[in-house]
């Protein structure tokens, strides 16, 4: 048996030859061999008993997996909008120069690959990159030189020398230079709390009563959509099915969001306690934390905390002496796909499939993970649950604003003096937030990431809450010098990259939106292009299959609304009926070169 045969067999066996563990299998193979080759795919298919195409569809879907060989070291430089604002282009040039290769390439010796990656959740310490699993923040051109020289010595990113971050980032299991950047602690998530008090209170009452407490607290989902958590649990509990699941959405991929990173680093116990309470409430014995691949550097720490909880009977059988309450949590690591933050795509990914969203209904509460009733909750939501059960529903419901009780973690980045995570009560005015972060001169603020809205100064008196400006946590500030059309175009580029391709409005529509923005940016836009952008954007929102396409036109639509003048000053009427974007010289260049003669029709 060849090495690859033996290894792949071993990996599949470790995962119980379970088709649903496909993500773990292909991730392990990728890590071992730097690729998931054709041969490996055939072997995996044979071991888990599925078609080879099912393996390949997974491998081809996720950015961190590849059929072609990648270097032993893969440098993924984050090219998010915020990183670009922080000068990532110079960093990119430095990497290219030091490695002698372009992006998307591997060095001739096959040892180092260089790639771009969208937001890795480090916007407050941009520019940043992930090198295998190591996150490197605050990159500079000098630092690039050092890193490349260092890596060429040992080709082991875990040996890279760097200063350690604060808190658990300095833990030997994390050993990361990431800083928490926690600027403001609020009274829910980052206040001092009595650990396991919430869980004990929950286990003292019936599951239905726990759900009632969460309902009375009027807790709404922190991922951005704001669905009432208690109602979601009630549906899941009531749904027919013996096995139920609680899934925690730790895929935090919305560009500009990094608040879950801090929770997972500093409040993992609170999260796991919340998941356990949720499991008790809905009648689940299994919970899965879906951890985005970019946060894999936290995995060992999280595993240790889970093990501690098992040792203390906070997980496992008859938890804290509660007869018949069995619950445990596993971690599913993703592999670089924004769409997996969408709850049905996240379920697909946990099932070992491509991260394709599923058709709704049935909703996950009825048929979710492996067709079982499933509640999918945000990391922050589950932490709120712990605190609600500790302090009581009334305590929670009193804080924040009327329709949005509690606090919200906001991850602020961009053109501001104090980027980082702020825990603020719901209902905070944008104006006041900007004052806190040192960005009073902001031209625009992106609330809720690119799928949220870009607002201008006229809206700074509005408040952050579900009834006004809803957000999953991302707040990106744009200073007076930024070109907002260009920013919108960059966000559209992101959506074009991340569309799963299943439905046409999202797959094609976003490309067209980007094309029209580029046309306008090139000075070739016409007034009617603005109407086209508007109509096209609305159509995409109306007809897309999942939340991604239903929100992806927002950077365009909200800048069209709030920065209309910027667009209008860029477009001009064309009166000769010709398309200004058609370039006859470029179109003829190849033909003239091949025929070795110049056009006699188009001489200019």
């Amino acid at each position: 048996m060849s090495e690859i045969q033996a290894e792949v067999k071993k990996i599949c066996q470790t995962c119980g030859n379970d088709r649903a563990k496909m993500m773990d299998i292909v991730r392990a193979v990728q890590q071992k061999f730097g690729q998931v080759s054709s041969e490996a795919m055939n072997l995996i298919a044979k071991c888990v008993g599925c078609h080879r195409v099912e393996v390949e569809s997974v491998v081809s879907f996720y950015a961190f997996l590849s059929k072609k060989p990648k270097g032993k070291v893969v440098i993924r430089l984050c090219n998010d909008v915020v990183d670009k604002m922080a000068g990532v282009d110079a960093i990119a040039e430095a990497f290219k120069k030091e490695l002698g290769i372009d992006f998307g390439r591997t060095t001739p010796d096959g040892k180092i690959s260089l790639e771009y990656t969208p937001c890795i959740g480090m916007c407050d310490q941009a520019p940043a990159a992930i090198i295998n699993d190591e996150v490197i923040t605050y990159l500079s051109t000098d630092k690039v030189k050092e890193i490349v020289a260092d890596i060429k010595k040992h080709y082991d990113p875990s040996k890279l020398k760097h200063r350690l971050g604060d808190g658990n980032n300095a833990d030997e299991l994390v050993h990361s230079c990431v800083h928490n950047g926690l600027r403001k602690k609020g009274q829910v998530i980052f206040a001092d709390y009595k650990s396991e008090a919430g869980l004990k209170n929950a286990l003292a009452v019936s599951p239905v009563e726990v759900i009632n407490v969460v309902k009375t607290a009027r807790l709404r989902g922190r991922g951005g959509a704001g669905f009432p958590t208690g109602i979601k649990w009630q549906f899941t509990r009531a749904a027919a099915g013996e096995k139920k699941y609680i899934l925690c959405n730790g895929d935090e991929g919305e560009p500009g969001t990094f608040k879950d990173r801090v929770i997972l680093t500093e409040r993992a116990d609170m999260l796991f306690e919340g998941m356990t309470i949720a499991g008790y409430a809905i009648g689940a014995e299994n919970g899965i934390l879906y951890l985005r691949g970019e946060y894999n550097y936290l995995r060992k720490l999280l595993e240790k905390i889970l093990q501690n909880r098992r040792d203390k009977n906070l997980l496992g059988k008859n938890i804290l002496g509660k007869q018949g309450f069995n619950f445990d949590i596993t971690i599913q690591v993703g592999a670089g796909a924004y769409i997996c933050g969408e709850e049905t795509a996240l379920i697909s990914s946990c099932e070992g499939l491509r991260g394709d969203p599923k058709t709704r209904p049935p909703f996950p509460a009825q048929k979710g993970y492996l067709e079982c009733p499933t509640a999918v909750n945000n990391v922050e939501t589950l932490c709120c649950v712990t605190r609600i059960l500790e302090m009581g529903a009334a305590w929670f419901a009193e804080s924040g604003s009327k329709g949005s009780p509690g606090t919200k973690l906001l991850s602020v980045s961009g053109d501001c003096k104090l980027p980082g995570v702020y825990e603020l009560p719901f209902g905070v005015k944008v104006k006041d937030l900007l004052k806190d972060v040192g960005a009073q001169d902001a031209q625009a603020v992106l609330i809720g990431g690119p799928s949220g809205q870009i607002i201008g100064q006229n809206d700074y008196n509005r408040t952050i809450c579900y009834d006004d400006l809803a957000t999953g946590g991302a707040v990106v500030v744009f200073g007076p010098e930024r070109n907002m059309i260009d920013i919108a175009a960059q966000y559209m580029e992101f959506f074009v990259e991340e569309s799963c391709g299943y439905c046409t409005p999202c797959r094609v529509g976003n490309v067209l939106l980007k094309k029209y923005l580029d046309k306008i940016l090139a000075g070739k836009g016409e007034p009617e292009d603005l109407d086209i952008l508007q109509k096209l954007g609305e159509s995409i929102k109306l007809t897309s299959r999942c939340g991604m396409g239903q929100t992806s036109p927002n950077p365009v639509l909200t800048t069209l609304k709030n920065f209309r003048k910027n667009y209008e000053s860029k477009v001009k009427k064309v009166s000769d009926g010709m398309q200004p974007t058609f370039d006859i010289r470029a179109a003829l260049a190849d033909g003239e070169a091949i025929a070795k003669r110049k056009s006699v029709i188009f001489t200019k």
Partner: protein
């Protein structure tokens, strides 16, 4: 009052759309009552003689002459209609768009399995229009006012659209006429 004029052309198309126009059968007599034909393969007028109300374009732009003709149509016609899928989105001719032009020519004239070309000549007379790097749908070259889908759009669609345009009446296209599956 003089009759309005229409012009038609086939660019990178197969003339199928023009054939479909002829399929209006005896209604062609009514058409002649409604309009005069200017530049068109129907009457073989090669150059525009004046302003036209409607220009019908079949096919996309595969070479420089296509671009030139299309631009002339835009200059001379009040309303331009992209007729058929090639004009609207390039269609079959645009299947070459993902292959570099040189490779296309080599495959067609040198390497194709049924090619007999012992002297290895790729046609390059100076009378031959130069190929474009790819095939462009008409709306990428000039402004297009209307599109009539189909391969080809059937005679009834063409008839209804022309009559509506020329008589300034609302266009009625029943679902059955524009359903292609």
């Amino acid at each position: 009052m003089a009759k309005p004029k229409i012009a038609t052309t086939s660019l990178a198309g197969c003339f199928g759309c023009h054939m479909s126009l002829l399929d209006i059968d005896e209604r062609i007599l009514k058409l002649i009552e409604l309009v005069d034909f200017d530049k068109s393969p129907v009457d073989d007028i090669k150059e525009f003689t004046g302003r036209c109300a409607v220009g019908l374009i079949e096919g996309g732009c595969a070479n420089e002459d296509n671009v030139h003709v299309l631009q002339e149509f835009r200059k001379h016609c009040d309303i331009l209609v992209a007729v058929g899928d090639c004009a609207i989105m390039g269609d079959i001719p645009a299947m070459r768009n993902n292959i570099p032009l040189k490779e296309c020519l080599d495959e067609a004239y040198l390497n194709g399995p049924s090619t007999y070309n012992p002297e290895k000549i790729i046609p390059n007379d100076k009378e031959l229009p130069l190929c474009l790097n790819r095939v462009y749908p008409c709306h990428e070259v000039v402004k297009i006012d209307y599109s009539l889908p189909g391969c080809p759009p059937n005679a009834d669609i063409l008839w209804q659209a022309l009559v509506a345009l020329l008589t300034n009446k609302p266009l009625e296209l029943p679902y059955e006429l524009i359903k292609y599956d």
